[in-house]
Symmetry: C6
């Protein structure tokens, strides 16, 4: 089975090579855990490796998304111009100037079919290999009973196109699980990002909860957010009392 | 009482010989615990022993199910052709190409009677001895008040046919119990699969909570998911602090 | 006050002689705790002592009930023929062949009055001294507000007939209490069966929470389920850390 | 302020003399904690001291109430005949033979005014000094929003008559508080009876939570239920680890 | 900023002089914590210092309120006659004899405007400097969504009149917070009274959670209820294990 | 990226220079934690540095707001006259004298568009660089499903104007998270203020949970409320057991 390298330092080691191709991975985390940075870094590294990618923006204005990425040194505009990166605007609903500048706009988020049609078009146009939906939570935040079927519909489309995908899932601080009943059972992989306070200090960590088609580290690894993005310590483990160095590698 | 060997390494020891024939066993677990692999391994081992089997797919496209099984070396297609394995497609609703390729299709999941009719036909056609429904949760996820009666209806049909069955039940991370009020009281056996984090490390384990018609291990056993499927350590126990070797056998 | 011997090894010691006559006892427990075996053993021992008994089956097909009892060596058919044991079928609703074979059938569980009429007839026919309703939970699972009044109606009827009764109550794993608000206050006695995991091992225990008309052990006693039914260790206590032998008797 | 002696061994010491006259005391406890025995003992001791009393039966048939009291040696029938004890039947609704034998019957519990009228009549007839309502919970079990106003109405009536009253309140196992939002703030005193399991053993204890018009013990005292009723250990305290003898008295 | 002395022994030390004038203070506590005594003592001490005061009775009959105060030696009748104390009857709704004896009666509690009009009239008549509303909980107990706006309306009126006020808030045993969502954010100060069981003993304590316009003790202080009212130990602290003497003052 | 100095002693060190320009920061805290003081101090320090600011008052009368600020020595009236500070009255709804004195009044809080129009006008009039909304909670307290979209609308407006903003969010005591589902994911930064009782003593602390565009301290820092406002101890950390001095700086 072919694996897609995330290119995030330390993460491919933890995934024993990368994310198996075509997998849909749920990336769950609370506020401030780095979900958006993680998913943008995944796309950027894909572009460096020649793999076209799509970022579906549901939380942030497309202009802001590009600026945020630039701050990490990830300037996507040249890639947009070359037609190997696309940004789907599911934030502005086409109100304001975005309809002049954005190529892919979802007008009405209450209609999942329109959302899927626009996404499908973008994938087809650029021949996308990587897709990020940030976040899927917005699609069902006010109708939790639809969460599972929305995820299943999206997964069916993406699986058919051959893309490897990340679905960002927003959870609340202190919430167990991965966001939305049934969602967690409908995906191929789950990575959870955490930001926990241990006796007055905040610690970042991630854990791979499941990943169809590969073995993976069964440990909770600390990570940092640097000016270059996320750096995962595959050689360390976050225990209840703090970070500990692994003896003899992961 | 005759027992059906699961063939899953270590599990038949824990069950003191296997699952008593005709039992309906609830297989409960959170995301990533290995429920689907467990139930497919149960069916595959049945085929090796000459016992026809049926897998009812509610979570995954039939094509994907066959591919997933193949990755563990369980190629069911020859058995489908010989008419001793059947896949019931309760996922696509007959949309797309599946209606050309799949023999058993449930069109409408809101109608339990249609579901039961299709299942009954498949059982009768191949003379099934083992049945897996993956998952029963999907049948009542949006109508929990129907969970118990749905389980009882299914059990009545399967008990009548002489099959030994596994009902996969999806639970959330951190959820106690086995999924759905009343469901746990309506089955003959309960096996729970767990994936727990203990101080920064993930551990897999299973526990047999009840099994009508046989004594069984009263311990929580660790297990691994390997490239050959599940391997249960019947000679080990998972304690609060980690895995421990049993003194003098189970 | 006359006491009815349960005949379950160890239990009558714990009850300081048995269940006071005419008491209605709530037998609460989670899945797999042995509620059904306990209540059938109570009836069987009554038959051995010449006391006619009735088992009201709400969870299981009457045919299955008889088979399950036979596995423990409790063959009730001769007693049914002699008219000193009766099985009330509140499971099949008279659908299928049961209406040919079963004498006492409740057609419609939504109507408690019909239920009570059938039960009253059976009690009168065989001169019952012991009655088991397995389970009362089914009577109000979808209408919890009716739980208390249903229990009170049943109790009024049974108290009038002079029977000593066991009401099986299903609770969920991890649920405190005895099942249903108000139910626990409407009965004469409460026995709770538990199945708890302590550091990777499952332990069975029971505790008598209340019993009108007698003193009783105030301890949690471990018990086993054997091929002869339940065996209670009246000389042992289950503590937080495991089983301990009592010094100098109960 | 005049105090009413409960006559329950140990309790008057804890209450520094007894219950202040005219107080309405909420007696809260889970199933099997001894609430009914406590309140009947309070009435019986009043009769011995020449104080007429009323027991309002909402949970049990009047015939059964008299039998239960007799088992503790409290035969109320002679006192009923002398017109210094009355039993208000709020259980049978006058169905069956009770309307021939019972003098005070509440026909319709959904109408609090009828309930109060009957109670007021009984109080006036016998010149009651003590009143027990067992239980107030039944009055509002299916309409919790009415709990507070029901209690306030009852309290207004009883305060006007000069009676000292006990309102039995049923709570669930593990429930904190005293039963029903707002009820606990509408009474003059609160006594809570508990039955707790500590490492495999059941312990009975009571604690006086508040009592207008008197100081009282601020400790949790163990008590026993004997064949003569309740016996409170005013010289002992129940701690988290078990019973301890007080040094130098309460 | 001028401060109003509560006159409650120990409390003004904790408040670093008293309650800043015009503050609205939420006095939260469970049943039996002494909220009513606290607030009546605050008014009585005001009368002794020549500051007219108003007690709004929502929980108790006005006659009973006067009697309860008298038991602590606080006879308000002479002050009522001199027109410097007023009791607003928001309890009887004018039913019974109260409409002959009470000057300020709120007929209909469902209408907050009437409540405010009567209160405003009483404040104006006696030139009140201190106001107690016992309890505000009653105003919104059956309509929690109105809690915040009710508090804000009351506060607006009282702030305009120059009164310093105490709003009694009833909370349940074990409830965190101060009673009603949003209420706690709409007041100038919060004092919480607690009654906690620590290993079999009850302890009374108070803590000032916030107080606009003054610094204050940041500790939990034990207090007693004596025959003269509340006595706060400003030189002691209640820790998890019991009371401890402060080294070198508060 | 340009940073806006808060001027709150110790806070800019913790933020590694200040709040990145244009960020919307959620300031979450329970009652009495100092949210309002914090946000007013932020505005006052802006005025001292020549940056026009706006305070949107939803919790307090505008007159009271000015008085409260004056108590800390922050007299905003001269700045209002110079047209570089504005107070938006979203409290009185224009009732009473406020419509004569206040320039910016929101009449109807149920209409978010009017709210935004008034705010936009004020920002434009004074050329605001800093905006405080105290509190956003009031905007959706009775319609939690609107919380997220309200925040997103406000953020869109403020981001367009170039302001750096603080949204005050009220949470309950003991509540985890930051107030309102989805709100925490819709902002650029989160600072949480806490007031916690540790063994009988209250401690104030703050923690920066996220801040887009800058690194920041990952520790919980204690702070004081003094007569000059908030003072954060950037060189100390609040641990479970109390305050500890950092070795070698933050």
């Amino acid at each position: 089975m072919k694996k897609v390298k995330t290119g995030i330092p330390g993460l491919d080691e933890i995934l024993h090579g990368g994310i198996p191709e075509r997998n849909v991975v749920l990336l769950s985390g609370g506020p401030g855990t780095g979900k958006t940075i993680f998913s943008q870094q995944f796309l950027w590294n894909g572009l460096q490796a020649g793999e076209p990618g799509i970022y579906v923006a549901l939380e942030e204005h497309p202009v802001q998304v590009r600026q945020n990425m630039e701050q990490f040194g990830w300037d996507v505009k040249p890639f947009e111009e070359k037609g190997i990166f696309a940004l789907v605007d599911a934030f502005t609903a086409g109100v304001g100037k975005s309809k002049e500048y954005e190529k892919y706009i979802v007008q009405d988020l209450t209609d999942v079919r329109e959302f899927i049609d626009v996404l499908r078009q973008a994938i087809s146009d650029i021949g996308a290999k990587r897709v990020v939906v940030d976040s899927v939570t917005t699609l069902y935040i006010n109708k939790p009973a639809m969460a599972r079927s929305t995820i299943l519909q999206l997964k069916r489309v993406l699986a058919g196109t051959g893309c490897t995908s990340i679905f960002v899932s927003q959870i609340s601080v202190g919430e167990t699980g991965f966001g939305g009943p049934g969602v967690e059972h409908g995906v191929d992989g789950i990575i959870r990002l955490d930001l926990d306070e241990i006796d007055g200090e905040l610690y970042r960590s991630l854990i791979v909860w499941k990943m169809r088609g590969t073995s993976h580290s069964m440990r909770r690894h600390p990570f940092d957010i640097t000016s270059n993005g996320i750096f995962v310590h595959s050689d360390k483990i976050l225990k209840n009392t703090g970070v500990e160095k692994l003896q003899g590698g992961e």
